[in-house]
Amino acid sequence: MLRYIVRRVLGAIPVLFGLSVILFLFLRLLPGNPAVAILGQHATPQLVAQISSSLGLDKPLYVQYLQYIWQLLHGNFGASFVDGRTVASTFLVRFPATLELTTGAMIFAVGLGIPLGRLAARHPNGWIDGAVTALSLFGISIPIFVLGYTLVFIFGVELHWLPAVGQIDPRLNVNPVTNFSIIDAILSGNVNAVEDAVAHLILPSIALGSIPLAIVTRITRASVIDVSNEDYVRTARAKGLTEKRVDDRHIMRNAWLPVTTVIGLQVGSLLAGAVITETVFVWNGVGSWVVQAIENHDLIVVQSLIMIFAIIFLAVNLLVDIGYAFLNPRIRYS
């Protein structure tokens, strides 16, 4: 097992290295000058030259790349062109927000998707199944920003049931300790703050979780139907086991496997979806940060964030693969 993990980690190195080269070239080949983005209407040719030189953009491309990769190998993700803050420090502040949001979305998607999938699988092609299928199609086809603005409009602007934007009401004066708004609210000892933080999480979690919900529902349904037709399930029923026991011990245990894979694969799409969700809900995470960095031509930030996303994605995939071994003892890695 350990050897397997080591091999996978070593295998990730050329992937990340290749990505760094492609990203670097791709971002530099894009037209536009970060100095112009920084200066805006004050972008006189002299000032553009001055700022470009300060940012090191006047050096040859390979020198810029070598500097970047040298820093990266020392664990230094560089600093923003715009505000001078290091990517690492800003990431540590903003990542908890994204993690909180993606966790919320995952809880929504898995918590609702698996029961819905099982429900649909119980009566394949019945009206419940049809309704669940329709819901999945809706979830997967509606763009996140449309769903986001619509949810805010209905539940925030019109009904005033849930807050429209942000992570917590600033009037509550919750001190950011961990930058997880719910944990910070709990630490503040203020029950209202905890309620407020949870309320802020609901709409963005639904918006971001809509696509994973659809996928988890569909896969659970398919997987459960698939396993239900296996011989050992028929045997279990023939033994006279209760339907609940058949469901829990024989069907779900085996049906979990593809569902887990899909949940793991959703991490990538959640990070991509967070870019939009965080912008719509003014969520101070890494997703909205990417958008701001792209708008500002903040190349180092964009590059480092995508590298970090790639590392997260590879790590989660590895964890999912390891997770298989625990869920299904028949799988062995060597």
Binding site: G32, Q41, A43, S54, V93, V152, A164, G166
Partner: protein, 591 residues
Amino acid sequence: MAGTHRRWSLLTIAATGLLVASACGGAATTPAPASQAAAPSQPAATAAASVAAASQAIASQAAGQAVNGGTLIVGLPGDMAFADPSLVSDGNSLYVMTQVVQGLVGLAPGTLSDIVPVLAASLPTVSSGGKTYTFTLRTGIKFQDGTPFNAAAVKYNYERWQNYPKGDLQDNAYYYGAVFGGFGSQSNIASIDTPNDTTVVFNLKQPQSNFLISQTLMVFGIQSPTALQKGNADATPLSGNKYAQGQLPQGQDMVGTGPFTFKDWVPKDNITLVKNPDYWDAANAAHVDEIVFKPIGDSTARLQALQSGSIDVAVVIQPTDVKTAQSSGLTIIDRGQQTCNMLNLDLNQSVAGKPTIYANKDVRLAIASALNKPAYVQTFFAGQALVPTSFIPVGTLGYKAETLPGYDPAKAKQLLQQSGVPASQLSVDLYYPSNVTRPYMPDPKNEAVAIANDLQAVGFKVNLKTEDWGTSYITDATNGKLPAYLFGWICDWAGADDYLSVAWFGYQNGQPNAQFHYANPTLNDVMLKALAAPSTDQANQYWGQAQDILAADMPEIPLSSAKTPGAYDSKVHGFVPQGGVLEYLNSVWIK
């Protein structure tokens, strides 16, 4: 920090109790310390009177019903850049800093260019042909960290900026360089004398008529020298400068003399200010205990945040959202007839070394007559913009009303005939930027289409062309590669010089600005005289002449001046809109 806040609240309740009492008793008779100021020169006296009037208006509005306390949440279109005012040049940073720091002079609330003394006791006396400015300072003022405000503090700040080394600090201190012509020995400030604790004398190398109006910018706000030194505010690179990053404990960075104190900043998420309980101008002390600024870049999200009550004020909303905002019971921030931006159709008289048809004055005048500007204002700004009456907006220092060509297609056709340019050459490559909206340009593409239609109606053939704003449009425009293009300017300070000289027609290294290739030595001469004029009045005469020349020549076509609407919730009161989108929030209260 919650605990800290509670202590603050108790303090401020006690303090505001006293302040309310003094405000009620004193509003009518002693509106502001400004009125007590010695008035050494005539302009100072009138300015002192006007600040008195302005603060009286606010005080009386507030005195009857103002409620103290509470937290005001203000949605800004973007985040602050740095916590050190001298290092910023964007509107969001300045909006925050306007509440915390103050300069020697400032703008009267709600005005664009009404210069009033703030930390100075009166407007300065000017001598030596406009080269010496002598300020008498107010006494008894303390910075928010307790450091006394005096002449040495002023000198320390100005010399700190002047001596910024090359690199991070100079790169970000755009305004010091732009206003004084550079840093170090290049600066137009020769020396600063402090003969006593309350007198500061600026000795300029050359007279500089924009000195006072430019010093109303919050980037020239005076900060506590103690805090600057203790916080190591000049450290570079800025990534490691905790003062500039606003990450020092409360009371140790962005320490000014204003009605609010900087508390903390979670980048991109919020900036918190708290009421300064010891504010020197008691009659104008803040009403709310706390202001939280929330940067919301997406304009739809910002409006929804306001509609749902997540924020109390949206400083800026889209002009096309004004009706929606009104129908959901919000109050529109109408910044009135005084604006601080201008959208032009720029005409470049020479591209790639060849003269264009815009070198012909009749062609330029024909274009000016062909454009239906009132229609653009209605269509693209939902009426939230003004049709220009000169090359600079109303309310700008040095503004002179001009009779610009109105919409008259018949006249345009006649001018084109008169121009002698053959019809086959009347071809316009009209550029508009893509992937951008600016406050002065909410819908560049469709506005360009409308302009193209108007031009075609009088006989031009128009090719619409576009470039990406951040990628190439700005640089191609400023480097003189575009022939006819939409381009705007948001004022840095509301002076004629900022538009006419800095942005557009000032010669650079003896050459006309490549954006226009408009060679007019007379205009340049008049503008240089205006800049070097020893007094504002004399400068304004020259600026008037400059506008006369431009109106006759039309080297660019002013299209509109956007009003930049905002909106706030019905519980917000005492908001005094300002045309340049820089409001003082000390007069605001919530109920």
